[in-house]
Amino acid sequence: MICEEVELELSGGEPSTEARAHLERCTACQETARVLGLAALPPLTQTERLVLSGLAATTVERARSQRRRGEGVRRVGTLALAAGLGALLASAVVSRPAPVSEPMVRTVMMTAPEVPVLDFDEANLSDDEVFFEVGWPSPTEGDL
């Protein structure tokens, strides 16, 4: 058995008879065993075992509360998102430019002016007064 194999056996569990025999005569492996002994942590204390006994329950409870909190945050986030979208839509509607109003056409009811009824006396009018005879100008008319 070589030192590397003994080293691996010393790292965990009970070393084999062969490894123990090697260890008795090899100072390098004895030093390895010593260093591994120094580096190893002491066995769990009573306090640590007590801490461990309640660890699973508290961890599961904490995981559940975290999940619940996460769901709550997600729900609030969804609501906030929906509210934001609603506000965005509302603001878009409100801020839309008002349509240009058509010019107001005012209908004015007009009544025909009263026309005085003229009372023509047909007797006073004659064809002579209405028509004048205009002759053709002479070729020299207008010459100076």
Partner: protein
């Protein structure tokens, strides 16, 4: 969760300064793993245990980086007040504390392999599956980690050896 919580706890207590910190890191690792499971369904290639262990290692690493109480590392609760220890026991306790700190200064991959093997007690096949490397690669990293730790311990044990890890 109950099936894997002790393994995760054993891994993160390497990085934590107290049992409470280790509990918090374990809880956070499981919460993150569960959250990740909800987002992306687990593939058969990466089992839940590997997933949560990877998260735990990363959390532990970040915890050490962020922690300002590095002095608390390695001070196990069962050790009792140091003043009451005999000289030999005191020296042993100091060496343990320094060696444990040296583990945290290993290169990332070596440290991951080392903690999964020594603290979590995973077989090399599981270590390699967790880290997504080959088993031979995991063993090689472990060998280099032990070699480096031995050098570090020898350096610290030598007269005038620096203790400022």
């Amino acid at each position: 969760m109950s099936r894997h919580q002790e393994t995760v706890f054993r891994v993160v207590r390497r990085y934590a300064g107290s049992a409470d910190e280790a509990r918090d890191l374990t809880q956070r690792a499981f919460l993150q793993a569960l959250e990740a499971c909800e987002r992306t369904p687990l593939s058969s290639a990466v089992p839940f245990k590997a997933w949560v262990l990877r998260i735990a290692i990363n959390l532990g690493k970040n915890h050490v980086r962020d922690s300002v109480k590095r002095e608390a590392l390695g001070a196990g609760e069962g050790q009792g007040p140091r003043v009451a220890l005999a000289d030999e026991a005191l020296e042993r306790a100091e060496q343990e504390a320094l060696t444990r700190r040296a583990v945290l200064t290993l290169p990332p991959r070596q440290r991951e392999v080392f903690t999964l093997r020594i603290d979590a007690g995973l077989p090399f096949a599981e270590v390699s599956a967790t880290l997504g490397i080959t088993e031979g690669n995991a063993k090689a990293h472990f060998h280099h980690a032990v070699k480096r730790l031995k050098e570090e311990v020898a350096r610290l044990s030598a007269p005038g050896g620096s203790h400022d890890l």
